[in-house]
């Protein structure tokens, strides 16, 4: 017996050590085997945290009360102990009591909850407004005011495909890391205006106490005021199709100075990246750029081998309708999307150069090389059809 217990203990201990060596708490994300809500870095998140404790304590007390009585009854009032059944079947006073008292308890719960609801919905007098757009399957951010006015970028999952496929060990921030996070200043009221380009997504960051659906064609808003610099992570919380699990949200809260510096850097970088849409590119330049654009925007559906997923996402390899056809149809498809399918309109997401390069890439990748008309598409061609 002692030996069995010892062996079990050893196994449990070694398993826990292995588990702990593998993963640690994710900074700004979930802890290992976290049991409760995130404590939060905004007043709202902390309010929610304490509301939850209040509810948990009240519910547990009632639970213990009711099931204490029931357990006593189960132990004492049983036939095999010779207990004879009593004959009461109604008691107006008792029945009124356990209707009225719960009502009073609920009023007690509703008062603090109401305060928090009203505070959460107050998105007025924000210091900074950022527009977040949900795409299948990434987030786009655009700074509408403040020092970073006009800065906009897409925020893609940064986890390598190898980790998802089990070819590499998963990292500590697996699925909750992005190539370019949203950056905000500390202690400022940040209003996030949300919409979506295709289907409904939801923007959730538990540490900030924020979750808001992003609805295509409509604007909704929410707000937060983080009082602690750091990186805070969340994920899409509304089923949005195949890669629902692969569009995380990362928010970096920086000090005022760091935020101003970040804004200036972003603006300078955007200026430097401005391209002349009339420039004529070489085929190799377009192919190199197009491969990158394809890898971040198209590969999820059309797959790296261009085969798509039969019945769901069409193949580009050997496609004679758009890819191995005159360029106009393909350019219009990429610009405007296919309504009613997962094919998004990339008009506002990608520049003329990016669209030209990715189209050129699909016309020269896989088995498509040398097959169709218009093997090279220039940014000016895209601009002409916008």
């Amino acid at each position: 017996m002692k030996m069995v217990r010892g062996t079990l203990g050893m196994i449990a201990l070694s398993w826990m050590t292995v588990a702990q060596a593998r993963v640690q708490d994710m900074p700004g994300g979930p802890g290992v085997n976290q049991l409760n809500l995130h404590t939060g870095v905004t007043p709202i998140a902390r309010d929610i945290y304490s509301l939850h404790w209040m509810m948990l304590i009240i519910c547990t007390l009632i639970f213990i009360g009711v099931f204490g009585v029931m357990l006593y009854s189960i132990v004492r009032h049983r036939k095999d102990r010779g207990y004879k059944a009593a004959k009461f079947e109604e008691h107006l006073g008792l029945e009124l009591t356990w209707t009225v008292i719960p009502f009073l308890i609920i009023i007690g719960m509703a008062i603090p909850a109401t305060r928090t609801v009203v505070a959460m919905k107050d998105t007025t007098s924000a210091d900074l407004t950022i527009k977040a757009t949900g795409y299948q399957w990434k987030w786009g951010y655009e700074y509408l005011d403040g020092p970073a006015t006009g800065v906009h970028f897409l925020s893609n999952l940064a986890t390598p495909q190898d980790q998802i496929d089990g070819k590499a060990p998963v990292s500590n921030t697996y699925l909750m890391e992005v190539d370019q996070p949203m950056v905000v200043p500390v202690n400022q009221k940040v209003r996030v205006v949300l919409t979506a380009a295709d289907v409904i997504h939801a923007w959730m960051v538990p540490e900030l106490g924020v979750k808001q659906d992003a609805i295509p064609g409509f604007l909704r808003d929410t707000w937060f005021r983080a009082d602690k610099p750091g990186t805070y992570r969340g994920q899409c919380a509304e089923l949005c199709g195949k890669n629902h699990a692969y569009m995380p949200i990362v928010v970096e809260v920086k000090s005022q100075e760091d935020y101003a510096k970040w804004a200036a850097d972003q603006k300078a970088a955007m200026l430097a990246a401005t391209e002349d849409p009339n420039k004529t590119w070489s085929k190799d330049e377009l192919l190199a750029k197009g491969r990158q654009v394809f890898a971040t925007n198209c590969v999820a559906c059309h797959q790296a081998n261009g085969q798509g997923i039969p019945g769901t996402f069409p193949a580009l390899n050997g496609d004679t309708k758009f890819v191995l056809a005159p360029m106009q149809g393909q350019i219009e498809t990429v610009l405007n999307g296919h309504p009613g399918t997962a094919m998004a309109a990339f008009r506002d997401q990608l520049s003329d150069t990016q669209i030209a390069s990715v189209i050129t890439y699909t016309r020269n990748a896989w088995d498509n090389v040398g097959k169709g008309p218009d093997p090279v598409v220039q940014p000016s061609d895209v601009k002409a059809l916008r």
Partner: protein
Amino acid sequence: MSSVTVDHIPPHAGHDEHAHHVPRGWRRWVFATNHKDIGTMYLIFSFCMLMEGGTLALLLRTELFEPGIQFFQPELFNQFTTMHGLIMIFGAIMPAFVGFANWMIPLQIGASDMAFARMNNFSFWLLPVGAILLTASFFVPGGANASGWTMYAPLSLQMGPGMDFAIFAVHILGASSIMGAINIIVTILNMRAPGMTLMKMPLFCWSWLVTAYLLLAVMPVLAAAVTMLLTDRHFGTHFFNAAGGGDPVLYQHVFWFFGHPEVYIMILPAFGMVSQIVPTFARKRLFGYASMVYAICAIAILSFLVWAHHMFTTGMPVTAQLFFMYGTMLISIPTGVKVFNWTATMWRGSMTFETPMLFAIGFIFVFTIGGFTGLVLAVAPIDIQVQDTYYVVAHFHYVLVAGSLFALFGATYYWLPKWCGHMYDERLGKWHFWMTMISFNITFFPMHFLGLAGMPRRYADYAAQFTDFHQIATIGAFWFGLSQLLFAYIVIKAFRGHGAPAPANPWEGAEGLEWTVPSPAPYHTFVTPPQYEASH
């Protein structure tokens, strides 16, 4: 105490000789008009669907054993989650309750059969059609519907033909439910035995009467919602497309106006069952019969006023948020009354703990946990944190599995002797209860923690920090699933005649007309209505 007198009908005293003829072979089932045969078919059908939906759940849990994608790509995983939900709700839980209604309502109210026997046949035979449509949709191009059982637009507009299969299946299953509901209402209101006033009716009948009205009210709403999806998909309408003047959130409002009463459609009959079982094994009348009836009605009425608590994160105005929060919290009052009344029924009873009683107490215990998490979710700010996370998954499995399914198991053991004339194996029944109870909690309790920590639902893949709880849940799920094979074995064993022959009333404390007819119940019962003389 009450007394029940029944005018016993001699076996051959019918008014018409062929009314006592039992059809043989396949015709008995295909052309069935007998409420007992149709009830049996409903129950067998729903158990098959429980197995299908359960298999899908185990496939989900298999993929979720570890982070990363091991077995099923996300697009297939999403099909599994969607079809698990649709099959369990429309294929398993709802038809199982209708099966019980068919078998037991005529026996409990002393009616000879359901009011519309041929419509009863039709409403059953629509079910396999719907089930085949749902199952076949996996094999059409693009696979099954992968937009979740809620089928939110515009995601559902992107789906392939599998979505159209789901839409037609929902139409067909909805038509079946509406016919079933009409049948139940007409039967209960018109065919009660002389002396059985509404307020003397067994609570199972009461709960089904209210449920049937809910079904009538909301199934057409669901049909409207999915029809709008269909026309948006194929006929150029723009109900849910902002570019054409529509609104995606409109779908959610219409859907949840159906969806919230639907939740009570799946739990009210369970309340009725537990209210039959607890007094029987406590050997004491149900405490607060009248307040139980009022509580059921109150829950049903409130269920029409709280639908948008499923939509707190869509961004409603603050007044709407508060209205739906208060309304939802109010529902806990009548629900609490029911739990208090069951406890008071047990108080100073003379209890024994056969399998039906174990499932009934298990129901009250675990359902109450689900009720409390429902109250936590009603608080809008907390809901904002945990909406669409595993906390919600834990919550609705506590009320739908531990609630509806446990009550169905308990009621099966309770009425099985009446159906097949033999007692089930009590020892195996208790094993089934404890295995189910323990494995259920192993599966779903850790999901509360996952949800609080921010693990979103409908994810094929997750951060490594969530691994341990997912692994515990997967182990529990397999244990839970396999335990149900034991249930099938116990029921089949009793039906094959293994087990002590059951007397007309196998339970010492049971009351009601169903226990006045022999076990197994003869093919035709109460051809002449009995006189019912109970105090309620």
